[in-house]
């Protein structure tokens, strides 16, 4: 701070709280209340980074979210480091560590800077043109491009911070706590509305809060004084909830908005412990008022990107708010009156202002007259044609404009300058308005896009809608807000505003130079290094649409979404092509308005909370018994139970052998269960299943196949008739929710006349399935009084029985082909009944088996799994399950589709069995099946859907879908793999126990 850049300003910066920070390894100091940018500037540091393509030195340019250059890496912790942070937005805290990003080895000596001298070789579309050929080289190019492109480094470790989500509802959401937003908040609150007011900065008040000149007055008070009183008033208003450090990220349809609140980023690292870092608000607002203000435009001239060249409004804010001078030899370059406020601030703070360059002929507004009266030299009708100084501007060269403003005349004048404050007018921040689907209108007078049509209940006020002068801002905000809220009178109706009205306007999108354009570098997009020259080149090369020009030149494609660059790009396109800017249309702004960290988006849904998972009542037993789990839908299902270091294959062979030779037990609780009641329940089943249900007796079970209306298999399962009008339907584990929805849909919309009620009871019951030749003995040990004889309790029947106080539904049904009982109990007894079975089965080596063994056992029997052997294109006929289609029923879901011209084709893919010639060779599921490998292109006849090694049959078995498969039994085919071709023979789908004898034990 040797240069005396701090001025005495105790209003917003607390000079009693000195904070240290480290920038590129050097320890520096600032104060509480500084941003990182203002602290750097107070240390006379402008140069903070290198540009993306040419690696030109770049400095802090703005004081807000539009900053294109001062983008830093914050922190050096592998988990906590944050890339691409704008120094203008982050509040300084003690111990902050930051580094420049796009430079190597250092910001002061950057090897990539050589690109600056190569720039004639790096025109627009350079990457597209150069790295296209040869295509095989792309991988090599990519490595170097990524290395030299180098925006920030992502953290490499998991984010340890906590993030939060919260829903909010309000009558009126106000985005932006500047003067217009505050007035709107007060008017709404006085009308008894619930107001939510968001401000992205630490303090309310916008730019008026530090406005210290005597020219603008409200109710005869200095405008900042008037505003402070209003803010105090609003802070005590019970109707208004204020969220500061909260920026709106996205504005969606139906006034649904997302806002991000920074809770700890301004605290020193030690003070952040156990605090939520950021909170994402999900806001539903009845009405939205956008008062996000405007951002200043730069001017486009040769070498307009040197460190020390800043927006005039930023220079003013650094003085008036942070008490920091950006330079000691200041020059202002403007095309409008607003930069004269900067002149007054510089003067008032005793900071040297060498000259003002103004491209206008003159202005005689009050503020300009005041500046004139201070004796500050103003060069009217002049422009900057060049700047000097590599790492910091030290001189500018100016020339007079000709009458048309398209060339320069006269002598060059050289002025000393270490800070050039530029202003090209103002651009309303319409980003949120367009995000919400609003359409813009071009205002030819001010050369701005302003909000026009919207479908939503929203209003833009203040400079966000194109009012830039204080009296317009206030009076129109009051008027528009009242109309928007349908209010007759407000407390602001008699407001008296005095300000300096801008008289003259002049706008030149690309300022002329004494050199030909090809020899100049007038930058538009600082972050992506695109110049006016690039835009013109794109137009010459035939790009017309602004969206194409934007992508070809990468203008506006940086992390700032071209907040500074877009208007000039449009203006230059319009000028060059002789088009009205309004006819060009703008580029689309997309959420988020400013970048969001992933942590904020996912909130608490991380780690074990990433997705919900469902556990059966027996889950703990499976865990204790070393089960491996697989995900089936949201369920965690026991997959297999490895013993003594068994592989999955070994475990499955052991489990399935035990189930066939003595007994096995499966947790079948995840199967979908739907309780069906009502006098029309039977008719309902007839309509939703392919087979007939009319004759199903009470106490009996039946397997059913459910189709989609297009005739394709949708789900399957066993349904039991519990009593006259009461059925229990089971579905596949993964299909349960969909089946339930589908059945509800038909009941409510197609057949409302049916007396049927559906209740999902999947979670209400736990199911233990005991199978194998010894299953009957085990069940007999548990239910001693239950008659298990085939006469009393045959296959496909059901009995209700008590075990102590526990009601058990026992079904004799089988998915393995073995004699098998399923015991259903209330979920809370699930683990008890399971352990009971294990205990009773001990002497029979009862073996718990998982889903993998279940799949193997059913495949031996040729039972399908919907979703594995079917894929939404298989009819029951394709599955060789013609037997399940009722011929008698007039209609059921999907029936008509079964004889569409496409579904009756003979050459559809059909389910078959496959046997490998080498019985030890196990096919891969998904492998393609062909007949002739040599005839190219090779015809794919089908693919393997299920494949296992059967320990009982001692050979490999597989199910597959195969074109004309029904005709191909016995045919030799090939399954080509990456390293070999496997010979297979088409077989029947039932591999074991074709006579179905095992079902009786």
């Amino acid at each position: 701070m040797s240069k005396n850049l701090r001025i005495n300003n105790k209003q917003f910066v607390d000079e009693t709280r000195k904070l240290s920070f480290i920038f590129n390894g050097k320890k520096l100091y600032g104060y509480k209340g500084d941003t990182l940018a203002s602290a750097l500037l107070s240390n006379d540091i402008h140069l903070v980074g290198r540009s993306f393509k040419y690696h030109r030195p770049r400095g802090i340019m703005t004081s807000g979210s539009e900053e294109p250059n001062a983008i830093l890496q914050i922190g050096n912790d592998d988990a906590l480091t944050d890339p691409n942070v704008r120094a203008t937005e982050i509040e300084l805290y003690d111990g902050l560590i930051c580094n420049s990003q796009n430079c190597w080895p250092s910001v002061k000596f950057d090897i990539g800077g050589i690109n600056n001298f190569l720039s004639p070789l790096l025109p627009a579309g350079f990457y597209y043109k150069t790295f296209m050929w040869p295509a095989s080289f792309w991988e090599k190019y990519e490595y170097f491009i990524r290395k030299s492109a180098g925006l920030g480094k992502s953290p490499t470790k998991q984010d340890p911070d906590m993030y939060d989500h919260r829903y909010m509802h309000c009558d009126i959401l106000i985005v932006g706590g500047g003067v217009s937003g505050l007035i709107a908040a007060k008017i709404a609150s006085d009308d008894n509305k619930k107001v939510l007011l968001l401000e992205d900065k630490e303090l309310l008040g916008g730019s008026l809060i530090y406005d210290d000149n005597d020219i603008s007055k409200i109710d005869n008070q200095k405008s900042s004084e008037w505003l402070k009183k209003l803010i105090e008033n609003i802070k005590n208003d019970k109707n208004i909830i204020i969220k500061t450090r909260t920026s709106l990220a996205a504005y969606h349809n139906y006034n649904f908005l997302l806002a991000r609140q920074n809770l700890t980023d301004h605290l020193s690292v030690n003070d952040r412990n156990n605090k939520i870092r950021q909170r994402l608000y999900k806001i539903r607002a009845k009405k939205v008022i956008i008062s996000t203000g405007a951002i200043e435009r730069p001017q486009v001239f040769h070498n307009n990107d040197r460190p020390g060249i800043m927006l005039a409004s930023a220079v003013k804010k650094y003085i008036d708010y942070y008490g920091v001078r950006c330079g000691l030899e200041n020059v202002i370059f403007t095309n409008n009156d607003s930069a004269y406020e900067t002149a007054l601030s510089l003067h008032k703070s005793g900071t040297k202002l060498n000259a003002i360059i103004d491209i206008r002929d003159n202005s005689s507004s009050e503020i300009v007259n005041k500046v004139k009266s201070l004796g500050i030299q103003i060069y009217w009708n002049h422009t900057v044609v060049n700047t000097k100084g590599y790492k910091r501007i030290n001189k500018i060269i100016i020339m007079k404009l000709n009458d048309k403003g398209n060339d320069v005349i006269g002598k060059k004048i050289e002025l000393n300058c270490d800070c050039l404050a530029i202003s090209g007018g103002w651009t309303p921040m319409v980003h949120l308005f367009t995000q919400s689907g609003g359409k813009l209108r071009f205002d030819n007078k001010d050369n701005i896009f302003v909000p026009d049509k919207t479908n939503l209940d929203q209003l833009s006020i203040g400079s966000a809608k194109g009012d830039f002068e204080l009296d317009d801002v206030l009076k129109n905000s009051i008027k528009d807000t009242k109309k928007f809220l349908n209010i007759e009178n407000s407390n602001f109706d008699k407001i008296d505003v005095k300000c300096s009205k801008e008289k003259e306007k002049k706008n030149i999108w690309l300022l002329p130079s004494d050199r030909p354009l090809s020899k100049t570098k007038p930058f538009l997009d600082y972050q992506n290094d695109s110049t006016a020259k690039d835009i013109k080149l794109a137009l010459r090369e035939g790009f017309k649409s602004i969206e194409h020009v934007k992508r070809y030149t990468t203008t506006g494609m940086g992390t700032d979404q071209g907040k500074l660059a877009n208007m000039h790009a449009l203006g230059i396109v319009a000028d060059t092509t002789n088009t009205n800017m309004g006819d060009l249309g703008t580029t689309t702004f997309r959420p988020p308005y400013t970048p969001l960290t992933f942590g904020t988006i996912v909130g608490r849904n991380v780690g074990q909370f990433f997705d919900i998972f469902r556990k059966t009542p027996m889950h703990e037993w499976h865990v204790e018994n070393n089960a491996k789990f697989e995900n089936v839908g949201q369920w965690k299902r026991a997959w297999y139970y490895p013993k003594d270091g068994e592989t999955m294959h070994d475990a499955v062979q052991r489990e399935s052998k035990a189930a066939r030779e003595s007994s096995g037990i499966l947790d079948a609780s995840t199967l979908g269960k739907i309780d069906i009641q009502g006098t029309d329940a039977n008719e309902f089943l007839n309509r939703v299943y392919t087979n007939a249900w009319s004759k199903l007796q009470i106490g009996k079970c039946r397997y059913g196949l459910m189709l989609n209306e297009d005739g394709m298999v949708y789900d399957d399962g066993v349904t039991t008739r519990l009593s006259e009008n009461h059925y229990l339907m089971t579905t596949t584990t993964g299909g349960a929710a969909n089946v339930m929805s589908k059945l509800e849909d038909y009941l409510q919309t197609e057949w409302p006349e049916l007396d049927v009620f559906l209740t999902s009871v999947t979670d209400h019951y736990a199911t233990a399935s005991v199978c194998g030749p010894n299953a009957k003995k085990i069940i007999n040990k548990i239910f001693k009084d239950l008659d298990l004889s085939d006469e009393s309790f045959p296959h496909m029947s059901f009995k209700e029985v008590k075990l102590g106080e526990i009601n058990c539904r026992v079904m004799r049904i089988s998915f393995t082909g073995e004699l098998s009982y399923e015991i259903n109990v209330e979920a809370s007894y699930g683990k008890y009944i399971w352990e009971k079975c294990i205990e009773a089965g001990k002497e029979f080596n009862i073996t718990p088996y998982g889903t993998e063994t279940m799949h193997l056992l059913r495949a031996e029997k040729g039972f399908i799994i919907v979703g594995q052997d079917t894929d939404g294109t298989m009819t029951p006929v394709d599955l060789q399950m013609d037997w399940i289609i009722s011929k008698k029923k007039y209609d059921f879901i999907g029936k008509r589709s079964l004889y569409r011209s496409d579904t009756i084709r003979e050459d559809r893919k059909q389910l078959v069995g496959l046997l490998t010639d080498d019985p030890n060779e196990i096919l891969e599921e998904g492998a393609q099946i062909v007949k002739d490998e040599n005839k190219k292109p090779v015809d794919m006849l089908g693919h393997v859907t299920s494949s296992y090694f059967s320990p009982t049959l001692k050979k490999s078995i597989a199910l597959a879908v195969l074109k004309e498969g029904k005709q191909l039994k016995g045919q030799k085919l090939l399954v080509p793999m990456i390293d070999k071709t496997i010979k297979v023979t088409v077989s029947d789908t039932i591999f074991l126990d074709k006579e179905n004898e095992r079902i009786n034990g």
């Binding site: 349809n253 139906y254 689907g437 929805s741 509800e744 197609e750 409302p752 209609d891 569409r900």
Partner: protein
């Protein structure tokens, strides 16, 4: 994200609902009487218009009731919500 006024529960967030596509396509009472083209018309053909579209929505994570919505597909504005079985409104 829409705000949908379920006729049984009131205004709720879109995330509670699922869309069921175009409304007023009744399942033919006698499918077997239809030829392939007529059946395909019912089964596959949907209008997908720009403008007011009548569609079915289900309050899946609420009361689970199905109802009808008249929505302008050009701006997602819901013009009218009415119950199953009611005729489409004139808009």
């Amino acid at each position: 994200m829409f705000l949908i006024n379920c006729p049984y529960c009131g205004e709720r967030d879109q995330s509670e609902f699922v869309s069921g596509g175009e409304a007023h396509i009744a399942r033919p009472k006698q499918p077997t009487e239809l030829n392939d083209d007529q059946w395909a018309e019912y089964l596959f053909m949907r209008k997908n218009i720009k403008g007011i579209q009548f569609e079915r929505w289900n309050h899946a994570h609420g009361c689970r009731k199905w109802f009808n919505v008249a929505r302008d597909t050009s701006n997602d504005k819901i013009e009218k919500i009415y119950k199953m079985g009611e005729q489409p409104p004139k808009i």
